[in-house]
């Protein structure tokens, strides 16, 4: 898992994403998509870990709705703001609990954040192939209790040390969610998971997150992560 943690990540990124919510009822599959832009920058100023901005462009009804998040190092919780174009007002909002659903999807905020290497203890429990790629199968047990999961089972590509699949177990040790990450591409020196699907095993529901466009290390300015910029989207 150290090798997974050592995979190089960019200082900043700008990603165009398509998020598709898929429900299956009576054997019939129904889907609804949203398109959003995610802009993120890492900080090494001793105050913030990252600052990020999410801007929705589809469906048209929510076009211009934007979230700003400042992730603090001191663990005092994030600072969050929401801009709703119809109100013409930036609202300070309560930081979302990490266990909550991300925008009504099957991903929680915790699922989308990077987990520190020393937050879990690891055990190699076998080797398996995922889509023809040989993987290590690792059980990750949280050391801290600040997580909604009792454990995660992670399949790691033996060649590039990329996560290909993750199973999430709830506090009662039932399989809760399964994340499939079938395809990665290398953009310059960074790997990008171009498609991820999170299956909720308790509901007949899944969420597909597809990268439409991505740009790394553009030297994004700090004023992007401000209330003023939030209103311009």
């Amino acid at each position: 898992m150290e090798k997974v943690d050592q995979i190089k990540s960019p200082l900043d990124s700008e990603t165009q994403l398509k998020m598709t919510l898929i429900s299956i009822r009576g054997g019939k599959k129904r889907s609804r998509s949203r398109v959003l832009k995610s802009i993120e920058k890492k900080y090494e100023d001793g105050v913030f870990k990252t600052k990020s901005l999410l801007v929705f462009s589809q469906p048209r009804e929510v076009k211009g709705t934007a979230f700003l998040n400042w992730d603090r190092i001191d663990g005092k919780g994030d600072d969050q703001w929401l801009y709703l174009p119809a109100l013409k007002k930036v609202k300070r909002i309560r930081a979302t609990e990490k266990s909550r659903s991300f925008q009504g999807s099957d991903f929680s905020y915790e699922d989308l954040s990077v987990r520190e290497l020393d937050s879990d203890k690891y055990e190699l429990i076998g080797e398996e192939s995922i889509n023809g790629i040989k993987c290590y199968k690792v059980n990750a047990m949280p050391i801290e209790r600040e997580t909604q999961y009792s454990s995660r089972v992670v399949w790691v590509d033996q060649q590039n040390f990329l996560m290909k699949k993750v199973e999430f177990y709830d506090k009662k040790n039932n399989r809760f969610k399964v994340l499939d990450i079938p395809n990665h591409i290398k953009n310059g020196e960074y790997w990008t998971a171009i498609k991820m699907t999170m299956h909720n095993m308790k509901k007949a529901h899944s969420t597909e997150l597809e990268v439409l466009e991505v740009n790394y290390d553009q030297g994004l300015k700090d004023n992007i992560f401000t209330e003023s910029y939030l209103k311009r989207q």
């Binding site: 919510l21 429900s23 129904r30 889907s31 609804r32 998509s33 949203r34 589809q58 469906p59 048209r60 009804e61 076009k63 211009g64 005092k76 919780g77 709703l84 174009p85 119809a86 109100l87 013409k88 007002k89 300070r92 909002i93 309560r94 930081a95 909550r100 659903s101 009504g104 300015k221 004023n223 401000t226 209330e227 003023s228 910029y229 209103k231 311009r232």
Partner: protein, 430 residues
Amino acid sequence: MKNLILFLSISYLSAQFNYSGEVNPYVMTRTSDKTQIDLPYRIMSVNLGYTLGNFDFKIVSALEHRNNPSEWEYDIREAYFAYYPDWGEVKVGKQIHAWGAADGNNPTDNINAYDYYYLFNSGAGKKVGSFSFSAKVYYKSFQLEGIFTPKHEVNRFPYGEKDFPLAIAEKPEIAYPVEDDWEFGFRIQTTIGESDIGLSIFNGNDRSPTLLTANVTFQDNIPPQINNLNLGYRATTMLGLDFVTFIGDLTLRMESALFKTKNPLLKLNIFKTPLDLYEFQQEVNYLQSVFQIEYTTLSDMTIVLQLIGNKIFDETYDWYHTYSQELVGLPTINFQPGMGTPFAMFSDQALLLSSSGVFMDDRLEVNGNVMMNLDEKGQMLGASLAYSPWINWKVEAGVTKFIGDKNNLENKFTLMEDFSNTRVGIIYNF
């Protein structure tokens, strides 16, 4: 010339044009006799934007339509230039501003006048754009904002609308237009720990007219005969405080505004003034407050509880003869705030509970609200559903019911009872 071509080429390449809007035809029907409520409404809204580097140009327009008799009116609600330097933002043009921490009812938000046809809309939809110059500076955890408006804008009231129960029969004549049009406001906001606190001041003129003079005949042994009421606008200064903080899973928003208002000194030429003219000098301080508690459930339903208060104090008045300046004993008139949250028109103390949620992967939107008059009897109940069968399309249906006091026909909720309605419409977003 080459430089100009190069500049224009770069400008063209880096510029971004964007648009959005909605088409929303709907029908409102009285619940009492199922007849249609014929008020104008925005059937279509179009937002256009052009971005070039740090500059934006925005136009927000709406097409207003009345179903019966069929009437159409196009309105440019906002049209402004904005410049976004690293330190903040500068805007000039016809704009709608938004101040305050609470949702929907903001006593500190007085830069723009209100459009009473859209009183029950949320956000910018119920305001009238005004020409203004504004600048906002972001410095560390501080935000400083200044707004200057050179022209006095008044509320848009549904005059003579038989379908709006609180409508005034006809547009009153304004005898004394505002002499000093200039209005300005300043606001400073800072973050302390996990809380935001804002202080604001606004100096301007009322958005609703009030009585300034009257022609009165005095005769022995009979009460004074008021022949004519002459209207104008009071000068008002607002001092505001707004606050946002978080306690556990709750978000608390508080907003309070102290209004100091008085009738302007009319510089009347006494030689041209009728002898029966009496001036009404009224000075009132009043306080409007909103206290809001907000909670989001695990299923992402938002529940908002608001306590709205309006309290008049320090009310003084005098009637005096314009010509002789002699004080006379005429009665006062009921004070009506000419600035502040429009909901103060309904009640001096009200409790508002609203909830909203989105289900079925964004297909179903559910809203509900209750407004209770705490002063006297009166309730407003509302519920709406919007279903989206296809992306960017919605079918909406809603019901609003006013319950007044049968023993009090002057009660605003009693007057609004006949406005209880159902609403059915379609929304297409583009």
